[in-house]
Structure formats: structure tokens, C-alpha cells
């Protein structure tokens, strides 16, 4: 792949040797993952669970996005479509049909994946900036659909979504109870992505990213692989949206708007594109910033823009990429 490519922004990190010790993690990655688990388990006793739930939902969303850009080299600028539709469907199912939360979440994830099939099939015909523009345009189509469709509630969105009882047993109405569901889904999604990236399937994806003609000449149907990665990424984005709808109890047009697609790009970029932990760190940084700056209104937009510019000009490895570079490990 060309010098300075976006997907391999951390060239300083040593090459990924397959000295995997535990579940495909290298030793430093395993340490970082354990630290992450401890933080996820301990933080609701220190910080508001509501804020943490938002953070984890966006972290999962960013991980799903990063799967495409980091490991297939495709920059999607339309991931809000899968996130937002996942949120709408799970919110609608929980509110109008009264299904249990696990069913609502699965429906939302399935919606994201199903939407990803035709969109991915169309978008993988092009790469690079065209891919970005196509995904953005398709997502805008979803946005217009959501503005007009009756079930989305138009400008109001779906509000006061009931969280219900998990498996019909555990009451999730308190934020503290709901947090454990969100944390479970996040850790599950994170491990799934990690497992996929380090499977033989993931190796083929990286081969496509680095040199697609060569992967084709080796006999891989690269389009099938790209589509599978796209659908997986869309499904996980839908999952993140579905959980978010239940946790925040709201699904609105903001979730499908292009600014949401931009936000997830920003989170991954700030955290470190193509790193495993980067999207989590980036989501934490951006969600925290949004929460503390919420009172400044439109300045948040300006600050996000400035962070975008700074990250692209001076900070392309992102937080985790820089740390990994300093410690000479791949995180």
C-alpha cells in the first residue's frame, strides 16, 4: 500500500508478529485489555452510569467503523445509517411491540447488517474517496427515508423507550442495571472484532488492504471478503445503535444524520485508526468533551472541527497510536 496510507497510520509500531499469547492478543495488548475490563467493571461505582453507557455505545460504534477503515482500508462516511436504523428499530420494537430488550437489541443489530448488504454491495465497487462519497450519499437516502417514514416519529423521534426486563426477568429500569447489559454487549462486540481481525479471514482482509491485486491473483474473491467485512461492520454499528436506544431511551434523526457519521470518523481518528484500542479511547475523549461542553451549544461543532484539523495535520496516529509508538508496542 502507498506511503502515508490512512489505514496504516502507525508505521512506527513494530510489525505484528504472531506471538499471540491469549485469545490473539499480544502480551501488551492483553495487559491493555485487562486494564480495559477493570475500568469497565469499576467505573460505574465512580462515574454516572448514564454517561458511561453513552460512552460505551459510541466506543462500540467506533470499533465497528474502525473494522472497515483499519483492516480493509475503506473509509465509510455513512455509518450513521446503520447506527441510526439500529436505534430506531430496537426503540420501536421495545416501545410499540413490547419485546424484551435482548430481542430489541438483536433486531436492531440485524437491521444494521441487512441494510449493510445492499449498501456494501454497491459501495465496494469503488474505493478511496469515491467509497466515502457513496456511503455518505446512501446514508443520506436513509436519512430522508427516516424523515418521512411514520414509525420514526419525525422530528420528535421515538422517546421514552422502555428498557423492559432482560430475558423477561431482570428489571433494567435503573441506569445501574442497564449499565451491565451495555458493558456486556460492548466487551462482547470488542472481543468479536478482535477475534475476526486475528482470524484467517482477518488476514485476508489485511492482504486486501495492503495489496488488492495480489490478493486477487492469489485466488481470493476479494469482493466477497470486503462485503462480509462491510456487513459485519454495519451489523455491529446497528448493535451499538440498538443498545444506545435502550440505554438513552431515545432514538432521533440526529442518530442518522451525516454529522453522526462524521463523529464516528472523528472518534476513530482521534483514538488511532487501525489500532484495536484507539476507537475506545477516541470515543471516550469525544463523548467526554461533548458532555462537558454541551452548554456551549454550537461551539462544540467548532471544537470538533478544530480537533479534526489538528488530528489530520499533526496527530495522525491518534492517542493510542502515539502511545504504542512511544512504548514500541502495537496496541
Amino acid at each position: 500500500m502507498a506511503e502515508g496510507s490512512i489505514a496504516t497510520a502507525s508505521p512506527g509500531a513494530p510489525p505484528a508478529t504472531d506471538e499471540a499469547t491469549f485469545f490473539g492478543f499480544t502480551r501488551p495488548q492483553a495487559a491493555a485489555f485487562l486494564a480495559l475490563v477493570v475500568i469497565v467493571l469499576a467505573s460505574p461505582f465512580v462515574v454516572y452510569p448514564f454517561f458511561l453507557m453513552k460512552l460505551l455505545c459510541f466506543a462500540l460504534f467506533a470499533c465497528a467503523f474502525n473494522l472497515l477503515i483499519g483492516y480493509v482500508g475503506l473509509l465509510s462516511f455513512g455509518h450513521a445509517a446503520y447506527f441510526g436504523m439500529g436505534a430506531y428499530v430496537s426503540g420501536y420494537a421495545a416501545k410499540a411491540w413490547g419485546v424484551t430488550p435482548e430481542v430489541a437489541i438483536l433486531l436492531g443489530a440485524a437491521t444494521g447488517a441487512l441494510l449493510g448488504i445492499p449498501f456494501g454491495w454497491l459501495a465496494i465497487r469503488r474505493t478511496g474517496i469515491y467509497f466515502a462519497m457513496i456511503t455518505l450519499a446512501l446514508a443520506q437516502m436513509v436519512y430522508f427515508f427516516c424523515v418521512q417514514a411514520p414509525f420514526t416519529g419525525g422530528e420528535d423521534g421515538i422517546q421514552a423507550i422502555p428498557r423492559g426486563h432482560l430475558f423477561g426477568i431482570f428489571d433494567l429500569s435503573s441506569d445501574f442495571a442497564m449499565y451491565w447489559v451495555v458493558a456486556g454487549v460492548f466487551l462482547g462486540g470488542f472481543l468479536l472484532i478482535h477475534r475476526v481481525v486475528h482470524s484467517p479471514f482477518g488476514q485476508v482482509l489485511k492482504a486486501i488492504r495492503d495489496n488488492e491485486p495480489r490478493a486477487i491473483s492469489l485466488g481470493y474473491r476479494t469482493d466477497d471478503y470486503k462485503l462480509m467485512a462491510f456487513v459485519l461492520s454495519a451489523g455491529l454499528a446497528g448493535l451499538a445503535g440498538a443498545v444506545k436506544a435502550l440505554a438513552m431511551r431515545i432514538a432521533t434523526l440526529t442518530d442518522v444524520l451525516w454529522t453522526m457519521s462524521g463523529e464516528v470518523v472523528l472518534m476513530s481518528l482521534v483514538g488511532g485508526l487501525g489500532t484495536i484500542f484507539g476507537p475506545v479511547a477516541g470515543a471516550a475523549a469525544i463523548v467526554t468533551m461533548q458532555t462537558y461542553l454541551a452548554e456551549f451549544g454550537a461551539w462544540v461543532l467548532v471544537i470538533q472541527g478544530v480537533i479534526f484539523i489538528a488530528a489530520v495535520l499533526a496527530f495522525r496516529r491518534g492517542i493510542v497510536g502515539e502511545i504504542g509508538n512511544l512504548l514500541r508496542v502495537k496496541l
Binding site: 506511503e3 462519497m133 461543532l301 467548532v302 471544537i303 472541527g305
Partner: protein, 294 residues
């Protein structure tokens, strides 16, 4: 027969509105194509620069009392100068790395511009009244009335599109530009200042967006989101046309506006999505775009 005439009379305003939209698509996708051809950067800030053009015109009028005609020249110059500064300060640092970074950077610029405008002017729109002299251009055909200003928008947009095409295809400067698009190192070796050309090209593309913004100001309300609404559709237009040819982007812009107008007549709900559906069809049949080179 009379029914048909009646139908046409009903349909005509929508179709003409569509063509006027198409004029904006053409101006914006032309600017994107010019910039992309030379810099290999997709200018995500194009919509924000369009908005900025409209706001500069509005500010010139409300704060300085400078009217529409001077604004039509001044606003593109001012916004173009901002574009030149952006290119020098930021975009020019990214030519050696993945082009996607250019997209991300200009996206950041778009957020900054939109955010600043929103802070200062709120999300609701400002009114910008068109000059009265356009009354002379008013068109009346039976029940059908087309305000003179819209006639002027069509004339102005078409003229500017044609002029840009002529400059690029038929003049010496244009030939340098086309040569530098194909082989920048070689053109530089001939003693032409390619980095300066890139800067000016970006400035010119941005000025085109601002010009479109001034044209749009009296038609749409001048609001911080006006460009964002346009630019995503214009991206689809660019994918449909392919960015290979200047003429292609102009033709595609007008054509899609027209199709949108016709759809508005027969199936209004689909008028906003029809461009995206056409994009999907084009991707299936000609992935490189109608005028694109693979």
C-alpha cells in the same frame, strides 16, 4: 389534448425549479471537479464555502449596505481568498499522503465554518431580498409565473459554467492546468509554478462555490445548514458523472436537477432520494461514472 396541456402547465413550475436546482448542482460539482482534478482532494468544505458565499453577501448588504451586484463579485473574491489561505496553511501539507486525509481535513473545516456561522447567526435563516430590477425578467405564461430572479440564476449559472469550461479547454492557462493535472512533475520541469497553480485552482473552485452561494441567497433562506443540504446531493452527482471531465460534471448537474424536478411532479416523496437511486444504478452499470475514466 387540453388535459395534457393542463398537466404540462401544472408540471412546468416543478420542472423549472428542478433545472434551477440543477444549475446549483452544476456549479458546485464543477468546482469540486476542478479542485479534484488538480489537487486530488475532495473538498468537503465546498458546501460550507457555498454557505459562506451567501453569508458574505448578506453581511455586505446588512452591515455595509453593499448591494447584490458588487456582492456577486466581492463575495467570491473574499471566500476565494479564504480558500487560498486554507490551501496554503493546511491542505498543501497533505498532498504526499493518502487523499482521504484531505477529505477529513476539509470536513473539519466545514464543521468549523458551520459552527461559527451558527454561533453568530443562529440556525434559522436570514432573508436576502433580490434586487428589484429582476422584475423586468419576470416570465408569465398563462397561469404560470416565473420570477425574473430565477431566470437570471439560470442565465448566470449557465454562463459561468460555460466560461469555466472555455477557460479550461480552450485557453493557454487551461492547457497548463490540464497538463499539470496529468503530469505535475513534468509541467514543473518546464518552469511552471505548479504549487502556485494548485493554490489558485483551489481558490477558484472555492470562489465558484461562493458565487453559487450568492446566487442562492435570494432563493433559499441564508442559513448555516444551507450548504450541507446541497453538498451531499452534489457528491452523489459527482459519483454519477465521474470526475473525469469538466463538461461531464456540468451536464450531469443540470440533468439531475431536471430529473429531480420531473420526479417532484409524479412522485413528490421520492424527489429527494431519486438522485441516490440513480447513483446506485450508475454504480451497477458504469462504476466509473457516466463521464469517468476507470
Amino acid at each position: 389534448m387540453e388535459d395534457l396541456l393542463f398537466e404540462i402547465q401544472l408540471a412546468l413550475p416543478q420542472v423549472i425549479l428542478g433545472v434551477i436546482n440543477g444549475a446549483f448542482y452544476a456549479l458546485l460539482s464543477l468546482g469540486l471537479a476542478v479542485i479534484f482534478g488538480m489537487l486530488n482532494v475532495i473538498n468537503f468544505a465546498h458546501g460550507a464555502q457555498f454557505t459562506l458565499g451567501a453569508f458574505v453577501a448578506w453581511m455586505l448588504l446588512s452591515w455595509l449596505g453593499i448591494g447584490y451586484w458588487p456582492a456577486l463579485i466581492l463575495a467570491p473574491l473574499i471566500v476565494g481568498a479564504i480558500g487560498v489561505a486554507m490551501e496554503r496553511a493546511m491542505i498543501s501539507r497533505l498532498y504526499r499522503i493518502d487523499h482521504l486525509y484531505g477529505l477529513l481535513l476539509t470536513f473539519g473545516c466545514a464543521l468549523v465554518i458551520e459552527g461559527v456561522l451558527r454561533n453568530n447567526f443562529g440556525s434559522s435563516g436570514q432573508r436576502y431580498a433580490p434586487p428589484r430590477e429582476f422584475g423586468a425578467l419576470d416570465l408569465e405564461l398563462g397561469d404560470f409565473f416565473l420570477p425574473g430572479y430565477r431566470v437570471w440564476v439560470l442565465i448566470a449559472a449557465t454562463t459561468v459554467c460555460l466560461a469555466t469550461w472555455l477557460v479550461i479547454e480552450k485557453t493557454k492557462v487551461g492547457s497548463y492546468l490540464r497538463a499539470a493535472t496529468e503530469r505535475p512533475q513534468l509541467v514543473q520541469a518546464f518552469g511552471i509554478n505548479v504549487p502556485l497553480m494548485m493554490t489558485l485552482t483551489y481558490g477558484a473552485g472555492v470562489a465558484l462555490a461562493a458565487f453559487a452561494g450568492v446566487l442562492a441567497a435570494p432563493i433559499y433562506s441564508v442559513s448555516p445548514a444551507m450548504g450541507a443540504n446541497f453538498i451531499i446531493t452534489v457528491f452523489a452527482v459527482v459519483v454519477i458523472g465521474g470526475m473525469g471531465s469538466i463538461a461531464g460534471s456540468i451536464v450531469t448537474g443540470f440533468m439531475l436537477g431536471l430529473i429531480q424536478g420531473i420526479t417532484e411532479v409524479f412522485w413528490p416523496e421520492a424527489s429527494q432520494t431519486v438522485v441516490f437511486v440513480i447513483m446506485a444504478i450508475v454504480l451497477l452499470t458504469r462504476p466509473a461514472g457516466l463521464f469517468g475514466r476507470a
